[in-house]
């Protein structure tokens, strides 16, 4: 059960040197921009732009290879599901119909559907490099400071930082409890009857949750004793001032986001239509 997750590794690159706040803003603006537009031209240009910082950052392929394969699998399943549930969604959106081949029953492959699903694929592909980059190059301790800088209440920022701090601990607890349960013959896999499986899961969850509640009591007492939350502001150990690079990066992102939104809504529709009405 080795965790294959995206974690920060310390490296030196222009992307790593950007402050956490800058990267967070870029990630959020980028995701929103990609969410809004369905314009194929914008998405394609954004995809190209998103690959530059990726190369610049020198992140290693093996750091994200597993997650990437998981994403691709999920992504294929989703594409398949869209076609199974709604084979003519593209026809509905683009208002025309050009058949390629009739498969069976109500399933006909059309150019419109292919184009629509291609757009969905692009939409994921555009967000992905930025999301991966954000997670691989942002120090978790700096992350809380950047959330606070963006105006999130520092207490909530602190919760996020606690969550990131305790994910490895909780995972270790979960593994220990579940291994010792398995050693005693408590099985939660498909081999066990469903009713037993549920009972067995409880015997793993209960100690995990009780130790976590105990941990919550302990940490909150410690924080209370140190006077957490007395003041309306706080400073952060990991916070860094903005440099000129940060301003350049933010300016670029703002430009791209505005341009893509303007182009998308210029003709009054979220979708870019290639097809002539028939």
């Amino acid at each position: 059960m080795k965790a294959n997750m995206l974690t920060f590794t310390k490296q030196d690159s222009p992307i790593h040197r950007l402050t956490g706040a800058t990267k967070l803003i870029i990630f959020v603006v980028w995701s929103v921009a990609a969410m809004i537009t369905y314009d194929t031209r914008c998405l394609a240009v954004m995809l190209v732009f998103s690959l530059f910082p990726f190369i610049l950052s020198k992140v290693k392929f093996r750091d994200y290879a597993f997650v990437l394969s998981l994403i691709l699998l999920f992504f294929l399943l989703n594409q398949l599901a869209i076609f199974i549930f709604s084979p003519l969604e593209g026809v509905r959106i683009y208002g025309s119909r050009h058949d390629i081949v009739h498969l069976a029953g109500r399933y006909t492959l059309t150019w419109e559907q292919l184009f629509y699903q291609f757009n969905i694929a692009l939409k994921y592909a555009v967000v992905l490099p930025m999301a991966l980059l954000f997670l691989l190059t942002t120090d978790p301790s700096e992350f809380a400071a950047s959330l606070n800088r963006l105006g999130v209440n520092y207490k909530i920022a602190y919760s996020v930082s606690l969550a990131l701090r305790y994910i490895p601990d909780v995972q270790r607890d979960y593994e220990n409890i579940s291994f010792s349960a398995q050693a005693r013959g408590i099985d939660i896999s498909r081999k066990e009857k469903l009713s037993r499986r549920v009972k067995n899961i409880i015997s793993i969850l209960m100690p995990l949750i009780l130790t976590s509640i105990e941990r919550i009591d302990k940490i909150s007492t410690a924080m209370e004793l140190r006077g957490f939350g007395r003041k309306t502001k706080r400073t952060w150990y990991k916070t860094r001032p903005f440099s000129s690079q940060d301003y350049i990066a933010l300016g670029l992102i703002a430009l791209i986001a505005i341009a893509s939104t303007v182009i998308t809504f210029y003709d009054g529709s979220r979708f870019y239509n290639l097809f002539e009405p028939n």
Binding site: M5, L6, I82, L135, I167, V170, S178, S189
Partner: protein
């Protein structure tokens, strides 16, 4: 602990509960789903945890554990957050927390009445979140086909309702048993 409700919205205990609860949500969301026997439907134990924490620490904790936990889980293990479902998770925590705020489980009170109330709350919360909010947001944000997202929402919602009804209830009852009841001491003659 009885003063939990009287304190500010974000007491230190709530802040810590949000942090640890989110970490639990992430781990259970990734490793704690077990096959239910129905194809493509898993028992997501993480929603039993969310319901329990909303019951224990209130609506704000429920909302933020759902939002933060689900965002982190998606981000760390799948690369990018699926925001429509993230919002739905937050909503589940919020609604359960609001509807169960009068159950004082910290005092070991979790009998038949509380059990029914807890389950009505979780059914309402899951129904709103998965049957309505998640699919509608899927359509608005990702422009996915309506029948696909409503089918997905229906399956996920039903699975979550059953999961919380069984595992969530059992966890709540077991937790209540670890607490000392108010007025449980009696004077010896």
């Amino acid at each position: 602990m009885r003063s939990l409700g009287k304190q500010k919205v974000l007491s230190i205990k709530t802040i810590v509960a949000i942090g640890i609860g989110s970490a639990l949500f992430v781990i259970l969301g990734r490793f704690g789903s077990i096959p239910s026997g129905v194809p493509n439907t898993n028992i997501e134990t993480t929603y039993a945890l969310l319901a329990l924490f909303a019951l224990l620490y209130g609506p704000v904790a429920g909302l933020l554990i759902g939002l933060i936990g689900h965002t982190l889980k998606d981000a760390i293990f799948y690369g990018s957050p699926w925001f429509s479902w993230v919002i739905a998770s937050g909503l589940v925590g919020l609604i359960i927390g609001l509807l169960t705020s009068r159950i004082s489980i910290h005092d070991g009170e979790f009998g038949k009445r509380e059990l029914i109330r807890f389950n009505l709350a979780q059914i309402a919360a899951n129904a709103v979140a998965w049957f309505i909010v998640a699919p509608v947001l899927d359509i608005l944000i990702y422009a996915e086909p309506a029948n696909k997202v409503f089918t997905q929402g229906l399956i996920a919602g039903a699975a979550n309702i059953v999961t919380v009804a069984i595992i969530g209830s059992l966890l709540a009852v077991a937790y209540a048993k670890t607490r000392t009841k108010q007025g449980s001491l009696s004077r010896e003659a």
